[in-house]
Symmetry: C4
Subunit: 360 residues, 4 copies
């Protein structure tokens, strides 16, 4: 395409993904887009949204739906956060800085990854509200140091990723020979010499240790089993993220959205329930809210904006999703994301039929 050609603005997140695919080297795109093993869970995350349909109400007289909500007491302008993603400079030269600025402009929270390619101290001045994501590195001193630096720099919560005792197997990466970071990209907050990210020995006991390291609220990310959800809140977590890591860890794990109802039933009164994995449309987000989530963490959805257009691309993705949520709320007669509940959705397919339906 000649330099004067003007790309029309993508109309939805899928088109941002197409633009990202064109903008990125193939092995980076496939690294970001792909999942573990047979990618069963990757696909299932999307399929799960299709198991629900909206049952909209009409004529509710809603001039301007309210999207503002809070997570952990912090106000956000829409029920979407930017979730943790490692080394975002792989996708755009400005990496996490671009994403964080876009989150600030859109009025929501940015999460800085433990394996970010931007240092905590470089990021802090450029971001609004932000959370810090932590892996429990085998060398716990590294983890403690990171938490303390993040706290000092103004993070307002610590998100611990608990679904990664080892790294999931991404066969596309192996096929592409993508097994280490390129030379010019590095973990900006960790000494590469000391680096071992995953620790299979991590356990619920570490939560106590972590609570001693910080007074920030702790969010546990990667929960699918209701028992774990109960454990999390019993042991002091303030929020959980229902997540299968975007299908990148245990393949054939249940879709996040499919896991949500049982978790909501188990712990809805115990703390805040967030969710990620597979969200691409405002409608997806409303389905998660309807099933009991408080807000959604984006991963790939904002990465495609980042790769396609840096800060502006991430901001556009957020505003596009905001507009989709607004429109869907208007069209379904809900005035406020806070009043979105199970009455908004029905299972797709043959309606369950009452007693009047027997005919023989």
């Amino acid at each position: 395409m000649g330099s004067d050609a003007v790309m029309p603005l993508p109309l939805n997140v899928y088109e941002y993904e197409s633009a990202a695919r064109l903008a990125l080297p193939r092995l980076i795109y496939e690294m970001a887009a792909g999942g573990a093993e047979d990618e069963v869970t990757l696909r299932e995350n999307r399929a799960a949204f299709d198991r629900w349909r909206f049952l909209p109400c009409m004529w509710r007289g809603i001039a301007a739906p309210q999207l503002r909500t809070t997570v952990l007491g912090q106000e956000i302008s829409l029920p979407i956060l930017l979730g943790p993603v490692s080394t975002q400079r792989l996708l755009h030269p400005e990496g996490e800085l671009a994403s964080a600025r876009a989150a600030r402009r859109a009025g929501t929270i940015f999460t800085l990854g433990a394996c970010a390619s931007t240092s905590i101290e470089d990021l802090a001045p450029e971001v609004g509200s932000w959370w810090f994501q932590l892996y429990l590195f085998p060398d716990r001193a590294i983890a403690r140091d990171l938490v303390q630096r993040a706290t000092a720099a103004g993070a307002s919560a610590i998100v611990v990723t608990i679904d990664s005792p080892v790294l999931g197997r991404h066969e596309a990466n192996l096929r592409n020979g993508f097994t280490a970071l390129p030379q010019d990209i590095r973990f900006a907050n960790i000494d590469p010499a000391a680096l071992a990210v995953h620790d299979p020995r991590q356990s619920w006991k570490d939560l106590e240790w972590l609570a001693d390291c910080t007074s920030l609220p702790i969010v546990l990310k990667g929960i699918l089993d209701p028992h774990d959800a109960r454990l999390a809140f019993s042991l002091g977590a303030k929020a959980i993220v229902v997540s299968n890591h975007g299908g990148r860890q245990l393949d054939s794990a249940v879709a996040s959205l499919d896991a949500l109802p049982a978790i909501v039933e188990a712990v809805a009164d115990r703390g805040e329930i967030l969710i990620d994995s597979g969200f691409r449309r405002g409608a997806d987000i409303l389905k998660a809210l309807a099933l009991g989530a408080r807000a959604v963490l984006l991963g790939r959805a904002f990465l495609w904006g980042l790769a396609a257009g840096g800060e502006e691309g991430v901001f556009q993705v957020l505003e596009l999703l905001r507009a989709e949520i607004v429109r869907s709320l208007l069209l379904s007669g809900r005035a406020d994301v806070a009043e979105v509940d199970r009455s908004l959705v029905v299972p797709a397919g043959l309606p369950s039929l009452g007693s009047s339906t027997a005919h023989n």
Copy 2:
């Protein structure tokens, strides 16, 4: 195709769609055929028919099935009406006039849209029974004026579309750059200077206001939730149309046919239940009647006839559907559309098995 080539008469509505696709500029065809966002609901409307199978009876001695029925006390020759569609001159130079004449010839009701490209006064002399469809324009004076003109011109009911507080997002239109009417097509009943069609503040209170404007029966179109159906009849509507606007408003909304049974269960004794969205075959119409609808409003199905052949094309589509209904009634042993009930259909798939089926 050379001018002497004779196109064989289309054999079914799908073939009318193919003919329309050839006859129309691409962006007009895609505007008419498409739906909102990912077109989940557009497809689901069709898929819903496939969830039901007929259980025909034999040897009922039916020489000529009876298709005549009434809606709001008006007799129609078959359980099909032409539903409201805006600016039909986009599809054929004669636009609404052609459709209305075809409805008269076929012995059914035509619905003139608020955003028609033919004026109420031009239409009235050319049509038989007709209804007038209304959007509650933000400037209610426009709405009142339209209702009064339609009443004066002989409309026999007012159909209020209540699922459109804002316009659904048709991404194909945006991609095609189709965001305004061509120069030669205009809304014939509304001053374009005053024009804002959608009003998100509309609500059930407007029904009272509207009832004060007219003594015509009011039909509310766009209901999917049984609570709304109850509200509609409680507040004085005489009929409702179960509809998701042909998948053009809230994407991922439940299919009309899937929403029907719960609405029938809630309000079958309260007023007349009509339906639209996705109907292409006589068999589709019989399934809706079996699940409790009184009649079906056509949208795209008659548009394809209009685009392919003007008045004659619309008439052929109606007669084709009439013949399909007649044949299906004969083959399923029903003498009259009035006796089509739940006994005509069973869910598709594995039959539900009685107590004799356990085997371990």
Copy 3:
């Protein structure tokens, strides 16, 4: 293919269909293979078999499974009959004679159609046991005459097709311009001058009239609703054929196999239940027996043999199906078709799980 090329013997009925497709003019093939309208029921007839799986038993010590059974007291060497098909000379010059001879060689019953292209009197000397199929022509004198001629010629049952008050709409035939028989093929038993085949006024009262015409047992073909099955036996039928006419009459009608269990539950103790529509494999036939059918009528399956190889082709199809049934009985531990019951099949898909499966 050169004239010396030897076609390998088809390995299954699908390959006979491929051979027939090569052997027949396209419009004849499509006439025979196709179904009504959207061919929903045509496909559903095949899909229904896929809803069941076998649960075989092992080590039952069965040297030679027994396939012999009876229908209406007549012994047949396998639970398959040749069902009625009109004007078989369209498929092969020897038409019904070839099919009938093959049935005799295979030890089963042939059914001569009312609209056969071979006369009753020509057929009778060449066939073993045979049934005569009747349409209730509007001119009942024609029907009575046919029954009397068939009785005189040695037919052992009268099969009345009751699902055809009018002809289903085969759009492929209309598209192909195939709306009348070719000049050289004619109904051999009916005066073409008097010919109107379908009579929508036919009803259950005609069964009484028919019983007065003949002392032969009467089989009613085309039943899908259990109420009709009850009526049939109450009014004196000796057997019924659960059938949707191979998907050629009411499109979207329930698959024959899906309709079978409710009919078996309603009338298994009242008379013999036969079935047709969609059978292509020995496994299909065993599924029908497992769900309560006594035997299966073939339609297209034997036509493909007829088109591909005349009498020998039909015989090969029967022997192929016999071998498939024998093998499947051996592999499932059933010694006799008479002992095939519901214990042989389970619904496909996720097994129903006992009380031990709950986990939260």
Copy 4:
């Protein structure tokens, strides 16, 4: 490919299959890969795994999951055995010797087939723990002789294949003209002159006869019906293999995995339950363990390794599956294959919803 080209090591069993397909003559590949008749069961075996999803637990502090288990009291290093496959020299010149050596290196059991292309006496010195598979040849003296030779040579169990009273019909083999072994491959343990492999008269009485022939534990392979499972243990079998012979015998038989829960419910306390048919991933194996199997027998999965790389290929397949199981256990919070139970899996699809989900 030039001789210097280095094939990257296959990343999963599917890639081993691709390598095998390239390495083998087409008719050998299709013989090994194919199934009976329409291959419904062949596909269903794979589809059955997709009906279940994992519900992983997090933060269980598992440094090194334990894969060691026992079958019939013999320790194996992972819950996988090499199942019986005939004439493995068709796939690689070293045939059974290669497979057996790989099993020994991997620390598991090899099963020598009755129709092996390697003699019992040649095999015994090269293998670790091994079982001997038996067909009940019509000439029982052959069967007894084989059992006695296998016992003398050190086999530790006799696996009797009971699902093969006749051979399933592999139409691909017939199409390929592959109806006999090539000249250079022969059954190494049976006199070809005396050869008739299948005996439809075999029955449960033969188990008594067999128990008289040997003091080795007897494993019955090919059980799908819970009644047969009860019979097996009642009559003295020590283990059963839930199996449909990889879809090679009765087509349309239930998938092994679908048959497993009812069998586990019936006989879990009576003996050991093994399974085969369709396993390609560590995740598949864990699903079977979760549903109650003790270990899995591989068939085609190790054959692809054998064809692609001989002993080393089989070893790589085993180590690849070991690594997949280890990773999946780590990611699902299970420390030991022995603690994998129903809590690890949930049905795929719409979650079952509690009482809070009704909305009308």
